[in-house]
Symmetry: C4
Subunit: 203 residues, 4 copies
């Protein structure tokens, strides 16, 4: 099976999950003192920006990974569905995180839940990538070094987030800062991956 409709369906889920993050920021019902009321929503804005960049990043990684994968089988579709299940769960984890930051209670559990969500997403990326490698679903034109770089990149994610989640359970604010830094770090243009993309991007 070609991967085009799988990509279209996944794009849809990523796009919806990223856009519904805004539902967690509610307009103040009392608009008499609007500016302070808007400022008081800062935990929601913070959670919105972090999660938007996270889902955007997961989408970008999904996009790059599926430029290497050209065929899908039943198991790949199953792993991909599980990944989308976790992506669609991010708005809930975000909502919990924002609620604890607003309430000033429960941040450690919320930061750990958020990190765990990201780790499971990373494990599913690993599952998709290893299955595609074992099952011969990778494009024949992709070189072995390109596959190795992608593998390293995919393994790196869950490992770093696990550290952030453990630290975040004890020092929630530090955990949030680690997540934000990891997301920005991932977004920065990484020379070697760009080269991979260009090699494969000609399809």
């Amino acid at each position: 099976m070609p991967t085009s409709r799988l990509e279209a369906f996944s794009d849809g889920v990523f796009a919806i999950a990223i856009t519904i993050l805004i539902f967690d920021i509610k307009a103040p019902t009392n608009t008499q003192h609007l500016l302070p009321a808007l400022i008081a929503l800062w935990p929601s804005y913070l959670a919105y920006v972090i999660s938007f960049l996270l889902i955007g990043l997961l989408w970008a990684n999904h996009h790059v990974m599926f430029e290497h994968i050209t065929r899908a089988d039943r198991l790949l579709m199953f792993f991909n569905t599980l990944l989308l299940l976790v992506v669609a769960f991010v708005p809930f984890a975000t909502s919990v995180l924002a609620a604890t930051l607003r309430n000033g209670a429960g941040e450690n559990v919320a930061v750990a839940l958020y990190g765990a969500t990201r780790i499971v997403a990373g494990l599913l990326f690993i599952a998709i990538w290893s299955h595609a490698n074992r099952g011969g679903l990778i494009d024949a034109g992709v070189t072995t070094p390109a596959i190795r770089r992608m593998t390293r990149h995919i393994l790196f994610g869950p490992a770093t987030y696990a550290i952030g989640a453990v630290i975040g359970y004890f020092l929630p604010i530090v955990g949030v800062v680690i997540y934000a830094l990891l997301i920005l770090l991932y977004w920065l243009p990484i020379p070697q991956r760009k080269r991979v993309g260009q090699k494969v991007g000609s399809r």
Copy 2:
């Protein structure tokens, strides 16, 4: 009429219906005792996972079926719209199921409603597939054995769910377990269907 925009529109409805399942899991407003509050939401997580895999499965089946169907007429579009109507109804049936599991009341009706939703979806798959066969909308390259396998696969769904729904009305928990097992069974890679997909997948 070619089926490309029909597939794109259907992909959109499937993607939205699957993603909005998360709306039924609400972040606890009191985050003082967050961990027990999160654990108490287990019926919502259970319903979320089952329905996510169900809609993902319906999407995958839709995808495979429309690899065989290459043209659409008015009646096919009508049946497809009815199928999407039922797919978009799944989040409601899921919400009802989760509410009864949380409340510990009304599970038998909720399990039967959930099964009925799945059965009606299955009947609409049958309607689309038989109409496509009668109306000459199937790709000329699809072999008769491939059509027979698809027909068997499509008939199998509603039959097994009907059993689950009847049992579930009397033993709700057993019904939920049957649904979960049926969904997993369907997701498992089935050798003969994969071969079908590869034959047709060359378009």
Copy 3:
């Protein structure tokens, strides 16, 4: 400008508007007497089914119309955006209609609002189609009789709905029945339109 991204964007709006109709059907919070509570929601189911078939129909008509139109200019995009604005308004009109049927009050205004929404959508179809004809945006391979049939089809919609809305203001239930019949009538396979589709569908 080609129309492919315009169609993709429109497909997205149609798919979201049709799927969010389900949000108006809320799971009963008290599940002790679930079956009567579910049955009491009948006005919501009725409004859901009618509006799902209506938006599906508008999508199908949009699809057929844009098989004839091959290029887009700024004004066409503006008219198309206004049409999408009305399509996204349908869930609100549906919600109002269901509320009045549940409350047993205000049905005449709700039925008129619903019909007016459909009429404005129809007028925007006319605006898009006449602008495309005047502006030379129609595919060169479309024959004059095919254009005339499409024109007749497009003019027919608002005219019949106007009758339904006027009658519905005085006899709301009759108005709802007229809407339902008109939607079903439109969905039935109409021989001449099918032929148009096949001529053009070869692109």
Copy 4:
């Protein structure tokens, strides 16, 4: 990397952000005096129409810009994600604006917030466009005058909105009128841009 999936993902976010604007208009719960209750919602309709045309316009501009850009790198994807973050924020800014118009309090802050949202979106258009120019991501067939016209068009947006936001902070109603006029002005067919589109549109 080609831009096709980036465009599909962006189309999805634009389509969802534009459609969920309708969630801010709630059906009256008391339908005894439905007509006055519906009329009392005029600030919500006004905000809905303005924001629908705004997001539609941003989508159209995104569409035209990406007809010039043929390749994406990591930084372009990052800027595009930030732009989508702002687009998905528009429903919140709209909801705040409608709330202040209904309450008759806080309009100046709401109008300034709305304008600021539009300005940030405009700055991100500038960031994407300059990065694409510097990074050699523009289609080789695009002429220098076409690039200059696009640059002027992109710079024009935030400048005019800044004026609207400043005036709107002191005279909120005038600010809303300025926004509405700017959006309509942008939607009007501009001869030179249409020509640009036709040159590039042949891809």
